[in-house]
Symmetry: C2
Subunit: 386 residues, 2 copies
Amino acid sequence: MKTPRTLLISCALHLAFSSLGHADEIIFSTSAGDVALSSVANNLEYPWSLAFLPSGEMLVSERPGRLRLVRNGRMSPPIGGLPAIFAKGQSGLLDVVVARDFTHSRIIYFCYGEGADGGARLAVARARLLADESPRLDHVETIFHQIGPVTRGLAIINIGCRIVEAEDGNLFVTLGDHAANSRQALPAQSLDNHLGKIIRIRPDGTSPPDNPFLGTHDALPEIWAFGLRNPEGLAFNPATGELWEQEHGPMGGDEINIISRGNNYGWPLVSYGRNYDGSPVGDGKQKGPGLVDPIWYWAPSLAASGMMFYTGNLFPGWKGSLFNGGLKSKLLSRLVLDGHRVVSDERMLEGLNERIRDVRQGPDGAIYLLTDNKEGRILRMAPRKG
Amino acid sequence: MKTPRTLLISCALHLAFSSLGHADEIIFSTSAGDVALSSVANNLEYPWSLAFLPSGEMLVSERPGRLRLVRNGRMSPPIGGLPAIFAKGQSGLLDVVVARDFTHSRIIYFCYGEGADGGARLAVARARLLADESPRLDHVETIFHQIGPVTRGLAIINIGCRIVEAEDGNLFVTLGDHAANSRQALPAQSLDNHLGKIIRIRPDGTSPPDNPFLGTHDALPEIWAFGLRNPEGLAFNPATGELWEQEHGPMGGDEINIISRGNNYGWPLVSYGRNYDGSPVGDGKQKGPGLVDPIWYWAPSLAASGMMFYTGNLFPGWKGSLFNGGLKSKLLSRLVLDGHRVVSDERMLEGLNERIRDVRQGPDGAIYLLTDNKEGRILRMAPRKG
């Protein structure tokens, strides 16, 4: 029998671990006491999204275009049946979610990049997952194709994308601005395209009749909210029912927004952040007429990706907290909420030295993380035993 | 001519510098661009408080019981005329403030520990500062003596103390709980003593007639608010006129409170933090009947000391922000405010590796810091030139 080894890491020391490597567990000190991080799966190439099936099995996407099932700690081969995926820059296979009625319908949704005009356009697909001995997809159907000025010249960055399913079965999908805003054009502020938007679509991709811009000239019917940059987190707040969004902003401008029907979140007219060359964004103001302010921003930036409201029992003191993954910052941010107010920001896992792409709650109440590496992994965080 | 040398420190690297040492400036990257830290005065033994005179000269207290004037970058010898100061543990010469009418009155106030029953009791004194060629004190008068169970057995910690002068000339003074709360007694919750309180006194130490507990049986007339632990920051919010307090709490429980007449801030019945042995504080709840919640807390703790609302022109983007010094955390926290909401917490100067005891705004709009060391110093933070 293998003897588990344990490494104790102090946040304050900021020790650098490039991987879990030789330890079975890493211990971190947090406001909930010591927590243990253990590796659930290894050797995932830039894993992007983690979704739990009702069975407790996990679906995990890898950005280069693979989807796998993790069952009893073992990872399946890539699941066949995916559409053609354009994997370049930040484009590839991105978010994956499991429908509420999965047990009966076997439906999953996923978001991916399609090659078009030499650039990447996002698309959303629906499929049935047959998860018996060898999992495979069936009835794969692309229900949404992004429209917008995404062309050969653009760097393939600021893609988005996250999907959440509302209680009524409609889907909210975040779509990044593809860094397409310029002096000449501000597509994130224009309703004739899908860049820098959150859309709301039915499970078949059509637009619900109460979408806000259905009657607006030149506006695309799927749009629910606009003026966004690179939203890589989206979740319903279980305490309020509101849709909250995490925005991967410019330097010093990662934000938490509360998304409401038809609202404009200001990008790139206003931002708390600055461009990466240090220049101000837009007119440099933080508020503008008709624009909705974030309720929180990180300075310096998290380089945020992945967002989850914690509701489990394994960390009772963390119920209602909003967890956020950090890429460049290599940490996990726990925002403590009092309604729409953030009253604390606990930054944990400093010293793990891993880019965090996604954070999800498991059915066991543990917190699961994806690390953004060529040799990425699924980590499970739980209270330290004993 | 000496050539200035410059060190560039990245926050992300968390490099450890034990002192400014051989560099004339240290550069840090912040949301306001690069800032330069330079040393204004060195070789101060545990400097505690910094106060500017209308002339731009600075008074600086050293905890072992010295007060000095800094004039044109040169430090005076210890100013004579201080009362007997009990310097042990966290007791000694603490806060010093300059009266609003100093130009005419020459009045300063300071807070210090008196030896009593083998422990430390806080006292507040008023004096006239004669600051000609050789500065000295005159008309020194102790206007307040702390009452409370401060005895030989207690460790000399959680002392407080900060003083602010209101526009009407009355003084608000924070007084720590001396870690005197126990299973047997909760002095911070009792009005018959001055532990864990904010008091309000006239310049002569008497109680204004509208103090909240003047008519209350067994209550001390100076008390303005109670239920505090170790308040080491106090300032009026210039945007609202409210008195804000920074609480050096237990582990994970450093807080920002808005202080109102007669309120109970809950210590040690409730706290977001935990005792340093990991056990919960009080009943572990975060809210209680009749208790006022903080608007913010830090997790992990800053080990906060020194608080300042920035109103200067040197950092236009930081106007209205609330700066907080960190001792154990060795950083400076800038809270961005939207009324009573904190919308961001920028943590800067990580990598300086200095405990920060006090933070003040200079008449030049620069930000001045005191480092908490046997060889402490006054640091000036300003935008990097060129």
